[in-house]
């Protein structure tokens, strides 16, 4: 018996993890894939009906789907871009020798550890057009008040601001970890050669940080693409459909319209998008790593 265990030990140790991944990740994706070729209203009496590619066809003809695709990309690209710039700056700041560094670090990390739904609810109050702090602030500055989340034009920038507020610290943290591990020699050489601080940053720090930055982008990109909690807690995709991302639309299709098949098709398309983006970033990262 023990011989058998010894012989197969390399299979036995990872088994729980493999089983977990299989059950909790591969199965739901497979089941969603299967459902995406069926029509089903979560009925207990009518089993899913095979409709082949009808759900996908309906999806690509659906104006709301295209709109939510655009909203998802807009939200993700703008939010992650702002977070990257701010996060790198923040990391450089935290890496410098400043007084109260520990305290600053702790404070910046606070938004990240808050529960997203709670964050959403707090921001609903901040953005409240009548009594919210955001408008009181604008008034104090003598600026016109805004409707924030209730305005179809401002809702996405408002949501992006929440996302930036919450997740910039994550970027800062990852980049900071990268900064700490950078080799010292290139810097010494550069100083000897009389490079300016900007040149040092642009020609040494940034290139050396590239792999770290790609990792941070990859993490945030996937996360931002599938943002659900903040949007659900603040606007539910509204006003109208102005902040209806793919995830929210999938949720609406599934649980409000009971079109499980179409919702599954949407999620499969979404899954493909996230997967290909991830692969793209990983390839880029490998390239950057290889050029080191």
């Amino acid at each position: 018996m023990s011989y058998w265990i010894d012989k197969h030990i390399k299979w036995i140790y990872p088994l729980p993890a493999v089983l977990f991944v299989g059950l909790m990740m591969v199965f739901p994706i497979g089941y969603t894939f299967w459902l995406s070729f069926h029509e089903w209203s979560m009925s207990n009496v009518t089993p899913p009906l095979w409709v082949a590619l009808e759900n996908y066809k309906a999806l690509f003809q659906d104006e709301l789907f295209r709109e939510s695709l655009w909203i998802t990309f807009y939200f993700t690209v703008v939010a992650v871009a702002i977070q990257m710039v701010l996060g790198i700056l923040l990391a450089l700041l935290m890496n410098a020798q400043i007084i109260g560094k520990g305290l600053v670090k702790t404070l910046f990390l606070l938004p990240m550890i808050a529960t997203p739904v709670a964050v959403g609810l707090v921001w609903v109050l901040i953005y409240e057009p009548n009594v919210g702090v955001a408008n009181i602030f604008l008034q104090a500055l003598g600026l016109p008040v805004q409707e924030w989340l209730a305005s179809p034009d401002l809702v996405l920038p408002s949501l992006i601001l929440i996302d930036v507020w919450e997740w910039t610290p994550l970027i800062a943290l990852i980049v900071l970890a990268g900064l700490v591990t950078l080799p010292k020699d290139p810097y010494e050489a550069a100083i000897v050669d009389g490079a300016s601080r900007w040149q040092v940053f642009w020609n040494i720090t940034l290139p050396l940080l590239k792999p770290t930055i790609y990792s941070a982008v990859l993490l945030r990109l996937i996360d931002a693409l599938k943002t659900f909690d903040i949007i659900y807690a603040t606007t539910n995709g509204g006003p109208g459909t102005s902040s209806q991302t793919l995830n929210i639309y999938g949720y609406v299709l599934g649980f409000q319209y009971f079109q499980i098949g179409k919702a599954s098709a949407l999620l499969m398309v979404f899954f493909a998008i996230v997967l290909s983006l991830s692969i793209l970033v990983i390839v880029l990262r490998k390239k950057a790593g290889a050029s080191l």
Binding site: L23, P129, N130, L149, A150, T235, G238, G240, Q256, Y257
Partner: protein, 439 residues
């Protein structure tokens, strides 16, 4: 085949559901504690039983909770209540039912929103046999309310809350201005315009403006303009009367409403009113305790109620059954659940609930003096008046209500934003017609 499907479906769907949804739901639902329910389960019925009631965050639930110990004393059945905000309730129940879960014994649902879909999906146990045993105990229910929980002859629920759109108004402000509460929509517009004073944070009118939630309260405006959602299976959202109604409602909110109405369901709109920031507010009568309870409302002693004002085509107002109670199709404690349903819809309990402000569904209670004694006088007068011109639905009476509501809500949103209502209405009309064609 069917059995095999069921087993597969049960296993796979519950798994998918657990993985995909539970995180979201538990994050949004506030405090729920399932899984504790099935403690007292047994078939002999001698030991104390526990049934699980999945309910809405609604005054009905709040009012029935203090009465549950009486029920337990009477029957030995303990009732464990999980409550959720209405949208989450729909999702929570559909996911549990679709996984063929046995964990829901009794459930609150919205007959006009989820009723037909849930019934079609086989979520509910038929109540026919139980009622027959009682010898026709449904006679006392308001007929239109009872009609909403039947599919042909199959009774799948019993209504517990009815409502109608009433006009909430600020007595003190109207008095000061020497005005009588408006009797027509024209007067409402006139007075809202006159009393609106945004510089001082007072708005003439507030109501729901959020896409889907707005539809039910907008329906009375639609009917009063002589329009309807559909007629003989044809969508009628773009008739001149309907467009007039959309423009009227959107105009009121745009011109005399507070900022941010596009994101307002009833909790937000009610908050504007109870913070003393609006003169007029139209919403369901069933929510009135939020405005008159001094612990929740800053204007508790200044709220007046009036019947829904008459429109160009006279008095017509939505008086729908808002909530009903059903028994889960897979519950293993159907008998205990039925005891609870019977108790909760009995005249004695409904009377008790109605004394706490719950607008029930029993004719005899509405007709008895005790039944209306606890309502503000003008509110019960408004409800009685509304019922004379009632339309028993406040959204299209179809299966795919969710999708249809969103289509209608789009037009309301367009009207509030001051966009081209005609264009929005004809676009939504096409979408709505497609939904009707699929039914």
């Amino acid at each position: 085949m069917r059995k095999k499907w069921n087993r597969f479906q049960k296993a796979s769907f519950s798994l998918a559901a657990v993985v995909g949804i539970s995180a979201v739901l538990s994050a949004c639902s506030g405090g729920s504690n399932e899984e504790k329910a099935n403690t007292g389960d047994n078939s002999t019925g001698k030991e104390p039983q526990t049934i699980r009631l999945v309910a809405a965050n609604h005054p009905w639930t709040e009012a029935i909770k203090p009465l549950l110990p009486d029920f337990e004393k009477e029957t030995g059945i303990k009732v464990q209540v999980d409550s959720y905000f209405e949208d989450q309730l729909s999702q929570k129940t559909s996911v549990e039912f679709a996984a063929n879960a046995k964990s829901i014994d009794a459930v609150l649902f919205r007959p006009l929103q989820d009723g037909k879909q849930f019934e079609k999906n086989g979520y509910f146990a038929s109540l026919n046999d139980y009622v027959t045993k009682e010898g026709g105990s449904t006679d006392d229910f308001i007929p239109s309310a009872l009609g909403s929980v039947k599919n042909g002859d199959n009774l799948y629920g019993l209504p517990v809350v009815t409502e109608s759109t009433v006009l909430y108004y600020r007595k003190d402000i109207l008095e000061e201005a020497g005005l009588q509460p408006p009797k027509t929509l024209d007067e409402l517009k006139e007075q809202a315009a006159k009393l609106s004073d945004p510089k001082n944070g007072l708005y003439g009118f507030v109501a729901r403006g959020k896409r889907s939630p707005a539809v039910t309260q907008f329906s009375s405006f639609l009917y009063a303009h002589g329009a309807d959602f559909m007629k003989d299976g044809k969508a009628t959202l773009n008739t001149p009367e309907a467009i007039q109604a959309f423009e009227y409602y959107g105009g009121l909110l745009k011109n005399y409403g507070p900022p941010g109405t596009l994101n307002m369901s009833w909790p937000e709109a009610m908050a504007v009113f109870t913070q003393g920031k609006a003169v007029f507010y139209t919403d369901a009568s069933a929510l009135y305790t939020n405005a008159t309870d001094a612990t929740k409302s800053g204007v508790a002693d200044k709220v007046g109620f009036a019947p829904f004002p008459a429109g160009p085509s006279g008095n017509k107002v939505a008086t729908p059954p808002a909530w009903a109670i059903a028994i889960g199709a897979n519950s293993e404690k159907k008998d205990a659940a039925w005891k609870f349903v019977k108790w909760a819809t009995s005249k004695e309990i409904v009377l008790d609930l109605q004394a706490n402000g719950i607008t029930g569904a029993l004719t005899s209670v509405w007709e008895s003096p005790e039944g209306v004694a606890h309502f503000p006088e003008d509110l019960s007068a408004a409800i009685v008046e509304n019922n004379k011109h009632g339309v028993p639905y406040d959204r299209p009476a179809i299966i795919n209500v969710g999708e249809a509501r969103d289509a209608i809500g789009d037009v309301i949103n367009a009207a509030i934003e001051g966009k081209d209502v005609k264009a929005a209405a004809s676009k939504s009309n096409t979408a709505f017609q497609n939904i009707l064609d699929k039914e």
